[in-house]
């Protein structure tokens, strides 16, 4: 098979973005172009997955320049897994946002720029996952960040501008830091190609290599929202429209996590900063979840659980054994899907009940039973109730930690358990306040029912029905998260192979250089 297929997950959305820009005045056409493009990306990602499983890592030199000079796109098991999950999630969120846009009479989404920006975001995410050199990774980050700046300030309302300002400034500074790190790495090694770097960095003096590693880690940790660099996230995410928050929460932080995983395993296999990563993971888990417990708004609570559960993944990367990295990968997939779903459900709650503030909600289990059911399943999945995938991921991580041994591992296992219980507590608070209890009068009136649950006002009642365009993608993601549990065996086998590949490093390097590795 032609290796140029690796470029398609980046090229298709970019091309489609141009088309949707041309079709700016025809929302229907824009919608069909976007849905078609994202479906195509999903199909291409599936083909890539099969190819990588059969023939191993695929590398493609864009523009025909041979490595290490040219721009390299590399698809190994980890990249392909991330691309396929991100394609599925972005497709679901696109359909959801369209369902919301049409029924809200387009107030929330100025459609003419929404589709192109969203597609550029998807292209940027795919580019970051497939990038084979550090500079292309930087470009991927900039593409997705640039698009996210536009999306987070969509509509330019006061609160979005306020939240967007912090987000943009933090993003720009972390990018500058990344760029400085790239310059210094080039100065030390004379290359930015990751495969070549993995060989040359071994010859760099230890203090210099340590400094480079630390700089890259800080730049990525800001993007992945790892404590103490996570303060920007819970402030900026909840103000954006629900589908945008959902896709940011699911994907953008994971791109940072992916970058950490890639550079830690490929470029710095000595693991000099593993203990630091484990401490960061522990603090991220604990501080994040304590923030979540203190919140009285569902969206903000979810932003804090997002930060907190990034800690689990960092924990896995810090352990750096094959089992741990494999479990971390499984956890990334689980977390992308579950966190996106929960934000979409928060959007549904906002739509039916008019708010996500817990004190103003109540009795939703009776008023909107289906909504309550999907919230409960996803929330249990997040906190890790057996046998759901959240439990399996956490179990895998903790087993790997115990296998590795050492007091720090046990501290992290304890921290993980505490975090899990506190997640359950935070979710219990939401469930208690928003779904149980007697519904407040204003909710009863807006649902058009009396206290016994009998519909008295047909017109109002019909207004609270969730449009199918929003309900179907949300339910599809809930089902996908449940499928992760059912197919956990094969998926764990896959992540195990992916993780072995990462730790060995040779499959990646040989694929890039076609077995003739230069010094």
């Amino acid at each position: 098979m032609n290796p140029s297929i690796v470029a398609l997950p980046v090229a298709i959305p970019l091309f489609a973005a141009a088309l949707t820009l041309v079709a700016g005045r025809r929302p229907r056409a824009q919608l069909w172009i976007s849905v078609f493009a994202l479906t195509l990306v999903l199909a291409v990602a599936t083909v890539l997955l099969i190819q990588v499983e059969e023939h191993g890592t695929i590398a493609f030199s864009v523009g025909g320049w041979p490595p290490p000079i040219g721009i390299e796109l590399v698809a190994d098991r980890l990249s392909v897994l991330m691309v396929i999950v991100s394609a599925a999630v972005t497709l679901a969120v696109l359909v959801y946002s369209q369902g919301q846009g049409i029924s809200d009479a387009n107030e929330e989404t100025p459609l003419s720029i929404y589709h192109p920006t969203y597609l550029v975001l998807v292209a940027g995410v795919a580019n970051a996952f497939l990038a084979g050199d550090l500079f292309n990774l930087f470009v991927g980050f900039e593409i997705l960040l640039g698009a996210s700046y536009v999306l987070i300030t969509l509509g330019g309302t006061r609160s979005r501008i306020r939240a967007g300002t912090t987000y943009v400034v933090v993003g720009v500074i972390s990018s500058t830091l990344f760029l400085i790190a790239i310059a210094l790495i080039y100065a030390a090694t004379g290359t930015v190609n990751m495969a070549q770097l993995s060989i040359r960095l071994a010859d760099v003096a230890v203090p210099v290599a340590l400094g480079l590693q630390a700089m890259l880690l800080v730049a990525f940790a800001v993007k992945a929202a790892i404590f103490p660099l996570s303060a920007w996230l819970p402030d900026s995410y909840p103000t954006a429209p629900a589908p945008i928050t959902a896709v940011f929460a699911g994907l953008l932080t994971k791109v940072g996590v992916y970058a950490i995983l890639r550079t830690q395993t490929l470029l710095f296999p000595e693991g000099r900063l593993d203990a630091l990563l484990m401490w960061a993971g522990l603090l991220t888990m604990i501080v994040g979840i304590l923030g979540a417990v203190a919140q009285s708004d569902i969206k903000r609570m979810l932003s804090f659980t997002l930060v907190s559960h990034i800690g689990f993944i960092v924990f896995g990367i810090g352990l750096a054994t094959t089992d741990a990295v494999s479990a971390a990968m499984f956890y990334v997939v689980h977390h992308i899907i579950v966190q996106t779903t929960l934000f979409l459900i928060a959007g549904l709650i906002e739509r039916t009940a008019g708010t996500t503030s817990i004190p103003r909600l109540g009795g939703l289990a009776r008023l909107a039973p289906f909504l309550a059911a999907i919230f409960l399943v996803s929330a249990f999945n997040l906190s890790g109730i057996p046998p759901l995938s959240g439990f399996l991921g956490k179990l895998g991580l903790m087993e790997a930690a115990v296998d590795k041994g050492g007091w720090l591992s046990y501290v992290l296992v304890a921290g993980g358990i505490v975090t899990t219980l506190l997640t359950l507590f935070a979710i219990g608070k939401v469930w208690n306040g928003a779904f149980w209890q007697a519904p407040p009068d204003r909710l009863l009136r807006s649902f058009g029912v009396n206290e016994d649950g009998v519909t008295v006002d047909e017109e109002r009642s019909s207004k609270t029905i969730i449009p199918m365009g929003m309900l179907i993608p949300t339910t599809a993601l809930v089902v996908l998260a449940l499928a992760l549990t059912v197919f956990a065996g094969p998926i764990f086998d896959y992540t195990q192979r992916a993780s072995q590949e990462l730790i060995q490093r040779t499959p990646y390097i040989e694929a890039v250089f076609n077995k003739e590795v230069p010094r």
């Binding site: 700046y149 400034v169 500058t176 310059a183 708004d297 708010t355």
Partner: protein, 179 residues
């Protein structure tokens, strides 16, 4: 090869000035800070590309006397990205000015909530039930102007989080109908 000391000092000064400006409150100053830092990074790229030699274009100078073209290519890309971002931040600053008549970066919601809670604490600790409402009114006057202004803003922003409902708090049903 020994790097150019003047360039290194210039880079250091630019970085220092850039960081200083980014710590300011006004978005325009932050933008200038970002620009300075990005220029400092450009100088860093010039520094790492090694000794200053011929133009790296085939035919303009012999191949063994060319400068390293790769850092130049990389930084050209970064400059283009920086241009786009500068435009965006300028638009943000303009929009902030349109909305608030200033371009100050505001505290985040959590900070404001804490300020508001602290303010309530202040009020309740000076509140003495025996002495009638006049005294408690005085007590709340003690709270500085900035505090109460910030708290009011916080209230407003917090409500805005939940949509347009702030406009008509008296009739909660109106809020849902306007959806």
């Amino acid at each position: 090869m020994s790097p150019n000391l003047t360039l290194i000092i210039t880079m250091g000064v630019l970085f220092a000035a850039g960081v200083y400006l980014i710590l300011e409150r006004s978005l325009t100053r932050i933008l200038v800070g970002i620009l300075l830092m990005s220029n400092a990074t450009a100088i860093l790229f010039i520094l790492i590309s090694g000794p200053n030699r011929g133009v790296p274009i085939i035919g303009m100078s012999p191949e063994d006397q060319m400068s390293d073209p790769l850092p130049q290519a990389m930084f050209l890309t970064a400059i283009v990205i920086g241009l786009g971002l500068t435009g965006f931040v300028l638009a943000l600053a303009h929009r902030t000015w349109q909305l608030n008549r200033n371009d100050e970066v505001q505290d985040d919601i959590e900070d404001r909530r804490i300020i508001r809670l602290a303010q309530r604490d202040k009020e309740s600790s000076t509140y003495e039930p025996d002495e009638g409402p006049d005294d408690s009114h005085e007590a709340s006057d003690e709270v500085s102007d900035t505090d109460s202004r910030q708290a009011a803003e916080a209230e407003e922003i917090y409500l805005q989080l939940h949509g347009r409902r702030i406009n008509d708090p008296k009739d909660p049903d109106e809020e849902v109908d306007s959806e």
